[in-house]
Symmetry: C2
């Protein structure tokens, strides 16, 4: 007899870790719509709409704004490994875990990687990145925007122009910020950028929006290679080295998203529905209003956590607006607190990676989860849980101070 | 003002192309369930259940039965490019478009690829593949099970044992057959196999189940490399060459799906819900019953189409049980017929690739779509459409003969 297990029945949670966070119910609804064939005129129409919606979300005039059918890092890899050829110099500024990921992907693509590092919990002065660009003359600069591992957001408006000056391409990983903080692709002269849905876009992981400009297209098109069997008549492969991945091959993805409709893969129908709805919801709310919403709740969380006598992690001047790091107080069992938050209150908060594992909690207030009632519930639950652990704190102050921030903003 | 486009509203269709086909509504429902954090005990429990469910679907005792977060070819690439090292000999038998894909992915991974080919519309006698294995002594043999481009299913029960004899690894692409035709992983001595959800598994594209045995694990574990930032303490990289892709790196995926829970990516929550439900539905129906259902409708389609005076494509003795190729009759505009089927009847059928583009229609009867009423509706609609085109046929015979097949089976 087959073993079928029980009906799917996820327990109700409020997801306030570093992501995935709660999906907007309208996004979940979109995913329950019937499928369409990938070349159905209605479906290719949806693909074109998705491109235009993400142009708006990314604030760009780029023609190409597409989805990569995978989780966030699949689009990072599609961008980097399609651009980086063996031997290319790549400059990776590292200020957290995801900088290491940029390095890893760049090295696997054959890049000669130079890194600069700054302490976790800080960001780079832009001049330092710019000086390194001038010194190393990289072909590509992969830069994380918001690194959830440290909760830091890297200012970068001056980095793009410096890349132009020195002939470098700037790739930005905006997985953790898109839809929650400004990602001004054209204003900051970003050449390629990608994200995911599962953070401030209020969707599930599994589809990765990306946009890139003509400077990138020029580099990758010379590496275009299409397999026999779907090769259009008269097709000539590019002169550059073939991209190692077929699945994450940017020129083929371009072919698929173009009117050519190169039959590269079968677009992930339901995830495209989700991505489309995520963008519509973000644009419908208004990007600016959405950024303010994240900023306000970030301020409320900072006020509340501080009022509870907790130390916040890192350089608060550069804290992301959608996640807050809390130093786990001495004598408190960080894991036990997270487990109790989940078991007693149904609230998930996270810890961090590597050097910060077990030293820091990360509380996400992202996308659909980023709401006053969730911030207050979380602070109340954390207070109760810490009191249970014997941690001394001024009871009632966390929620009160957070509420004060909201009250003031509502006036 | 942002441009938001209309609410998602896919027109009702019956998807009878080569996939995606209609998803089972219970799978669509599963995707509308709330998200969970990736390390939530309930979610990691679901991951473990998914592994066990796919062990049953794949008929294997392998420990590893996982999802790759991408469309079907992402899992093909994860398997092949994690196994194939630069310079390895790879033998690819090609009997359709997807054989070319196997070749392409193997070449990009650095393999020295030897191919054998047979005419489209035929399959290989197994002895020919076995002789080529003996001759070329490949490290890997990537073999397509059902190639939808030609509608042919390759017999392979003797190929796996031959691979064992000659020290080769057998990878099988079962994208188009899993859940619709027998894929007897252990019985046929397949070392690695992967699929998608969007054909006989009745789900959306975007998640790719894969299973592989210890022979594969041994090969890929020596290529294990984990980036700084998530590297466990004391981790030592394998001695083999690092896998080029980070996203499709099998040893890291193993780490993620193991109790180690290596934080490689963020599992695609909703697609995992879908994959779980797809497997439960297939096992609940019973694999054998499901295969019979596909076989019966295949016979009905063959009877109906033949009765209409249409020529079927390829070697019918090896036709897949879930897709039927029809030679487009001379004088009939194949594209116009497909467009009319879609516009007038809401039924999607497909054409094919490369040499068969515009020469063959492909009618899928897969998974949830594989039902008597759909087969009959499709035959009726095709008759009406062909009559509109001036094609002479014995009216009423298509549906009648198909119905006769069902009636006989019901007796």
């Amino acid at each position: 007899m087959p073993k079928l297990y029980a009906d799917l029945n996820p327990p109700p949670r409020i997801l306030m870790g570093p992501g995935p966070v709660d999906a907007d119910p309208r996004v979940l609804n979109a995913m329950s719509m019937p499928l369409l064939g990938q070349f159905d005129p209605c479906f290719t129409g949806y693909m074109n709409e998705v491109m235009d919606l993400y142009r708006q979300v990314f604030k760009t005039k780029n023609h190409w704004a597409i989805l990569v059918d995978g989780t966030a890092r699949s689009a990072t890899e599609a961008c980097l490994s399609s651009v980086i050829e063996p031997g290319d110099t790549v400059l990776v500024p590292i200020f957290g875990r995801f900088g290491h990921l940029m390095k890893e992907i760049s090295e696997r693509a054959g890049g000669e990687v130079v890194t600069i590092e700054t302490d976790w919990g800080t960001v780079f002065p832009q001049e330092r990145i710019i000086a390194a660009i001038a010194e190393h003359r990289p072909k590509v600069v992969p830069l994380v925007h918001g690194d959830t591992s440290t909760t830091m957001a890297q200012p970068m408006d001056a980095v793009g122009p410096a890349c132009r000056d020195h002939g470098a391409l700037l790739y930005v990983d905006a997985t953790a910020t898109l839809g929650g903080m400004d990602v001004d692709v054209d204003g900051w002269h970003i050449d390629a950028v990608s994200a995911g849905l599962q953070k401030c876009m209020s969707g599930p992981p599994g589809s990765a929006p990306a946009t890139f400009n003509e400077r990138v297209v020029e580099v990758v098109e010379r590496r275009k290679h299409v397999e026999e069997g779907i090769r259009p008549e008269g097709f000539e492969a590019g002169a550059g080295p073939t991209i190692t991945s077929n699945y994450l091959d940017l020129p083929q993805l371009i072919g698929y998203w173009s009117t050519e409709r190169l039959n590269h893969h079968t677009e992930a129908t339901s995830m495209l529905y989700a991505a489309r709805e995520c963008a519509r919801l973000a644009l419908g709310e208004g990007l600016q209003a959405r950024f303010e919403r994240h900023r306000l709740t970030s301020r409320a969380m900072v006020a509340g956590l501080t009022a509870m006598g907790l130390e916040l992690y890192g350089d608060l001047a550069h804290k992301m607006d959608n996640v807050t790091g809390v130093v786990i107080p001495e004598g408190v069992d960080g894991h036990a607190v997270r487990a109790a938050m989940l078991d007693d209150f149904g609230i998930e908060i996270g810890t961090s990676f590597g050097p910060l594992h077990g030293r820091v909690w990360r509380i996400g207030t992202m996308g659909y989860t980023c709401r006053k009632e969730n911030a207050l519930k979380c602070l109340g639950a954390l207070e109760a849980t810490l009191l249970q652990q014997g941690f001394k704190l001024p009871a009632g102050q966390g929620v009160a101070q957070a509420l004060a921030v909201y009250r003031e903003a509502e006036m």
